[in-house]
Subunit: 340 residues, 2 copies
DNA sequence: GGATTTCTGATTTACGTACCTCAAATATTG
DNA sequence: CAATATTTGAGGTACGTAAATCAGAAATCC
């Protein structure tokens, strides 16, 4: 049987009320007594029954998700996953709010973060733009006792408790390795398309990709990265222009969004068939895989990311450590055959 | 606020005791009254607070995992994951027992299943051998009210509530697609190595692989599948013999265990460098990826499988439906760059 | 030494559900 | 209609914790 607060009280020779004060960090207990209780806790291996505790304190976890607005389908899928989590909130004892901000606008993120009431929010998950002002706003929230996790794009140097996303350098390397093998020794050029190199995730993918090509596939030469601000139309014209200008392009790596534009650009140049790798399974990329327009899609499971963010924020709010293996987001590689 | 049993009682115009009898399927309630309560439940959207319920009934979930013994490293990793889950059992309110049985021995599985006391076991997860006697034993357990889930290898035709594993046909197709692209149009032969075609997962992988090669890469000819009973030494000699006998083998797909033997066979024939795809990330396959001996490894996350099995069995034991997106096991594709 | 202040104990109520008992109401049977 | 069986109500205790109150004990101050 696992020990209860009663056992702790008996073991420490104090009353239940005192144990409660120590466990919940309330004042009014002498240092000596605190230690007695703490040794009893560790001797008996007591762990608070979170369910009973939540029941007793009628706890709910007020969480806020800060994500970019706009047409980016990945972000819209992310939003849908958050909405799905909101549907489970009564069971999971959460109360989730979504705040959308204009994409690539760190000022807007800062304003949202600063407007939060630290008393009534226990955790925040945000898709971060990697700028100093966001970093500062995040650290300020943390100082106010709010748990902050980054989602999809990390904020290195901040004190966020967790990053719910993939290792984007490794993702870029994976794309490089696949492109290299798909080209199978044939020399040529690889067009790299990015959204914005101000996003740390895009930057990381580009550098991982370049590193692998340089060291393992020197016969492939990189063109780009071309920046498109994740706009499908910009992707279409950029890719189209590049393909028309250079017949030696035998592969394309789109490490950002705007897959629709990429698909259109390739479709308009039918007979050519470059090896194509893109990111994120969406309606468009799924179709492109099925049609043989994309060869592989690298994906992060945003359902997993959202659920993980919720679990992690709840755990930290309770002073617990999340299960790291469960919270690691995989770099999924999808061919048309293993699409979920 | 979510509704409680009290709200249901008030809404249905009956007493708390009656609501309790209906919700927990206890006798002594007129059909009419049952219906009154049930309409109140659905009108208010009542869902039982599982935490409070578990607290009240001091519930623990006694679960049994039935897995093969023997040196198969994947199974040993699986066992380690189960052991890790046992370490969390006080928090998760589970009581987990592991039963190991000789591999490929359906009689032994049946004996273990038959020996279970359905009163004191709420769920069973088993790595099934696909035979009629196992199917019958599983269905018998289910009739006795025990929740049964299959793990890693499914038992089609049985009434198991859930399969915690991957779609192995799709996994085989994925391997075929990758091998085909890695060979990039070069004609040649592909050696397929299997453990036992009596395992439905191995059979499925083989057929998925063959289907893709036939339809999309007709320039590749399949040799095998060679059966090795998942024994590394058998794999080594079989692969070695095949490579020596046929210089046209340009790729190898090992869809079963025994990767150590595969690595040894290839290492002994240094200058040749076939494209190699294997299954499951283990110590050996991880090293082989890093060394460039394997090109890709297809993996199922067995930590995920174990955690999922536990969640699913608990959910069904409570009469709830698990979250399907969360419980879907991915077909992971690992190159050396995206290894976890 | 008395008045404070600080600490501690004892006790109670509550969370939402399970499960038990006992009595009362209603339905069924002979 | 009485006797019985079935159904329902009312109320309680328990699970493990949180949080509150109130009274007493101990330490500190002047």
């Amino acid at each position: 049987m696992r020990p209860t607060v009663h056992d702790i009280a008996a073991e420490a020779g104090v009353s239940l009320a005192t144990v409660d004060r120590v466990l919940n960090g309330r004042p009014g207990v002498r240092r000596q007594t605190v230690e007695k209780v703490e040794t009893a806790v560790s001797r008996l291996g007591y762990v608070r029954d979170v369910m009973a505790a939540n029941l007793a304190r009628r706890r709910i976890y007020p969480l806020v998700f800060v994500i970019p607005a706009g047409p980016n389908s990945f972000m819209r899928v992310l939003e849908a996953e958050i909405a799905a989590a909101m549907g489970r909130s009564s069971v999971e004892r959460t109360s989730i709010r979504i705040e959308t901000v204009p994409p690539f606008d760190s000022g807007a993120i800062v304003r949202v973060l600063d407007a939060l009431d630290p008393q009534s929010v226990s955790g925040v998950a945000l898709v971060a733009t990697d700028t100093e002002e966001v970093r500062i706003a995040v650290d300020r929230l943390i100082d106010q006792g709010v748990q902050v996790a980054t989602l999809v794009s990390d904020l290195p140097g901040s004190r966020r408790v967790h990053f719910c996303g993939i290792d984007n350098i490794a993702a870029g390397r994976t794309a490089g390795n696949l492109i290299g093998r798909f080209c199978a020794g044939r020399p040529g050029k690889v067009l790299v398309v990015a959204g914005s190199l101000k996003l740390s995730d895009h930057m990381d993918r580009a550098s991982g990709f370049a590193a692998v090509l340089k060291s393992e596939f020197p016969e492939l030469e990189i063109i780009g990265p071309v920046e498109t601000n994740d706009d499908a139309d910009a992707v279409r014209s950029a890719v189209g222009a590049a393909l028309d200008a250079d017949p030696h392009i035998i592969a394309i790596y789109n490490l950002g969004a705007g897959n629709r534009g990429l698909i259109e650009a390739i479709a308009a140049r039918k007979p050519r068939r470059p090896a194509v790798i893109a990111h994120e399974v969406t309606r468009h990329s799924r179709q492109a895989l099925a049609d043989g327009v994309f060869d592989a899609v690298i994906n992060q499971d945003c359902g997993h990311e959202v659920r993980s963010a919720i679990r992690v924020l709840k755990a930290y709010a309770d002073g617990l450590n999340p299960l790291s293996a469960q919270e690691r987001i995989r770099i999924d590689v999808f061919l048309k055959d293993n699409l979920p």
